[in-house]
Amino acid sequence: MSTATDTHHDEHHGPASGMRRWLFTTNHKDIGSLYLWFSLIMFFVGGAMAMVIRAELIQPGMNLVDPMFYNQMVTMHALIMIFGAVMPAFVGLANWMIPMMVGAPDMALPRMNNWSFWILPIGFTLLLMTFFVPGGAPAAGWTIYPPLSLQTGDAFPLLVFGIHVLGISSIMGAINIIVTIMNMRAPGMGLLKMPIFVWSWLITAYLLIAVMPVLAGAVTMLLTDKYFGTTFFDAAGGGDPVLFQHIFWFFGHPEVYIMILPAFGIISEIIPTFARKKLFGYSAMVYAIAAIAFLSFIVWAHHMFTVGMPVAGLLFFMFTTMLIAVPTGVKVFNWVATMWRGAMTFETPMLFALAFLFLFTIGGFSGLMLAIVPADFQYHDSYFVVAHFHYVLVPGAVFAIMAAAYYWLPKWTGYMYNEFWGKTHFWLSTISINVTFFPQHFLGLAGMPRRIPDYAVQFADWNFVSSIGAFVFGISQLIFVAVIIGCIRGGVGRATDRVWEGSHGLEWTVPSPAPYHTFETAPEVK
C-alpha cells in the first residue's frame, strides 16, 4: 500500500507497530491487554512467594529461609497479589469490556488511561527494589501496623512512595471508568439497563476514589512519624498505635470489596449466558451491590476486635458486620435462581463461575462466623482467618477473573481456546485450592496463629496437606498461560461473533476479534 493515491482516511485508526504501540497507546483494548498481562505476571511473582511460604511450612522446623525473610515473603505476597494481581486484572477487564458493553468507541479519558497503566510498573519496581536495600523488604505484614512497620529499614520510603504511586494509578483508573459510564453510554441505555458488570464497576470506582486517599494519608503519617519526628502513632508522644489501625481499615475494609464487587459483576454476566436464562432479579442485584458498598464503610473495626474497644463499639461493629450477610445472601440466592430451570452447559467459564458460587459462599460462611465477636476472639489472627480470606479471594476474586478471561478470550483474540485444557486447568485449580485452604480452617481452630514461620508438631499433618495443594495449584496455573498463548496463536479455530449461544449484550454484536475501535457510531439500545 505504498501508492500515493491511497486515500483511506482510517489509516491512522489501526495500531502503531512495535514498542510504540504499547508505550504510547491510548486505545482501551491495548491498555486492557497491558493491564491483564501485567496482572498475570504479578500473579506469578506473588505466587512464587506463596510457594516459598508453603515450602517453609511443609514440615516443622526452620527448613528453607530465615524467619525475617519469611516475614518479607508474607508481606510482599499480600501486597503483590492485592495491588499487582487482582486489582489490575479487574481494571484490565473494565478497560476492555466497559466501552464495548456500553456502546462507546473508547474510554472517556484515553491519555490518562495510558498514564494510569504505565505508573503501575513504576510502583511495582519501587516495591520490588525493597528486596535489595539495607534492612530488606517490608516485613510487618501488608497491614503495616506501627510500631513494627517503623522498624523497617531503608525499604520504608520506597514502600510508602510505591503505595502512593499505586493509589494514584487506581484513582485515575476509577475516574476514567466513572466518566466513561456516566457520559458515553449508547442512546437508550439507561442506568438500569446497563450490564451488571458495568454496574459493579461503577460502584467499585466510587469506593476506590473514597478510600485510596485514606491509605495515602495513613502511610504519609507513618512516614512523618519515622523521619520527621511526629508522633501520630507513638504513645510516648501522645499518639496511639490503634489510630493507625482505624485509619488503615477504613481503607482496608472497602478495599476487600473493591476486590470482590467486579467479580460479582462478572459472575452475573456468565451464569445467565450458560444457563440461557436472564439474570434473576436484576434490580435486586444492583441494590445489593450498592448496599454492600455502603455497609463496607461502617464495619472496618471488625478487623480489630481484639485491640480493646469499648463493648458498645464491639456490639455496633458486630451487628453491622453480620448485616452484610443479607445483601450477599440475596446475590447468592439470585444466582442460584438464575440457574434454576435454565438450560445449562458447562464450558470452562461456567465451571469457574460455579466454583466461584460454591466456594465464595463457604468463604461467606466463615466470614459470618468471624463477625461473632466472642468467637472472633478465638479466630482472630489464626489460620482460620487465613482460610477465610483465601476462600474469598482465590476461588472468589481470582476464579472470577479466570472465568472472565475464558469467557471473553474468543472475543479478544478472535479464536476459541482449547476447551480440554481449559477444563483441565479448572479441575486441577479447584481441587488443589480446596486441598490447600480447607485444612487451614482446622489449623486455625486448633490454635495455629497466622504469619508464623514454624509451628508446633501437632500442626504438621494439615500443613503438609496444605503445602501439597498449594504446589499443585501453582503448577496448574502454567496451563492457564499455555491456554491463553495457544488461543492468541489461533486456538482451535475461529470464534463467531456471538461466541456463546446464550450470550447477549452489545459486546457480542461486533465481530470477533473486536475491531480496534468498536463503535464509531453509537448503537441504539431499546
Binding site: A275, V311, T345, L445
Partner: protein
Amino acid sequence: MFTAKLSGAIRHIFLLGFLMLPGQALAFREGINLPRGVTTMSEDIYNLHMLIFWICVVIAVLVFGAMIISIFMHRKSRGVEPAKWHHNTAVEVVWTVIPFLILIGMAIPAAKSLIELEDYRDYDMSIQVTGYQWFWHYDYRGEDVSFYSRLDRDSNRARQLRPHRELNPMEVDNYLLEVDNRVVVPINQKVLILLTADDVIHAWWVPELGGKKDAIPGVVNEMWFEVTEPGVYRGQCAELCGRDHGFMPIVVEAVEEEEYEAWLEEQREEQTAEEDDESMQLSAIEVAR
C-alpha cells in the same frame, strides 16, 4: 481420542484422591475444631461457635442442594427448555427477611456472651503481662512476684535454621509451646490479665482459656478468665511482632489454691535471693571502686 482417554484417567485419579482423604483424616492427630476450653466462658464461646457453624451448615445444604439439583436436572444435554421468568418480588422479599431473622437469632446469644466477657469487675487477682520482642514479662500485682518467660532451651535449639540446628523438632516435647517460666494461676478464681507491650504490638492467646487480646504499647488492655480444671494450657503470640513472632509461647499452669500459694511463696524466696545476690554484687563493685 487421546484427550478423551487422558481426561478419563485424570478423573479417576481425582476420584481416588477424594476417597482417600477421609480415611487419612481419621489417622490425623487430634485438633480440627475449636477446643471446648477450661474456663467459665470458653464453653459459651464454643457453643456459640458450634451454633453458628450448624446454622451455616443448614443454609449450605439448602443453597448447595438447589445448585446441585439444577446442575444435574436443568442442563441443556437433557433437552431442557430454559424458563422465561427472571423476577419474583415475593420470593425476593422472603429471602431477604428470613436471613435477617436468622441473624437476629445469632446476635442475641452473641451479644449476651460478649457483654459477660467484657465485664472486668470483681476479679480475685490480677497479673500484668507485658509483651517484648520476643518474650513475655509477668507481674503478679500486689504479690511481689514477677518474672520473664521465654521459649525453652530445647525448642530454641531445635528451631534454628540448618546447619545450626542441634535437635530435631519432632523429638522435642511441646516443640515451640514450652517456656522456661510458666504462668501459674489458681483454679476457680477470676484472674484479670492486664496487657501492654514495650516495643511493638503483641497478642496473648491461649485457646483453651478462650479468646485473645492485643498487647499494645501505651495502652493497657484487659481480659479475664476463670479456669475450672487444673492443667497446663499452651498458646502463642498472635500478632505479627517481627522476626521471632513464631517463637513467643505462653504456658499457663492452673493449680489448686494451696499449691498456688506455695508456688507464690517459693517465687518470692527465689526472687529475694536473686535480688540480694545482685545487690551484693553491686555493693561489691562499689567497694572495689
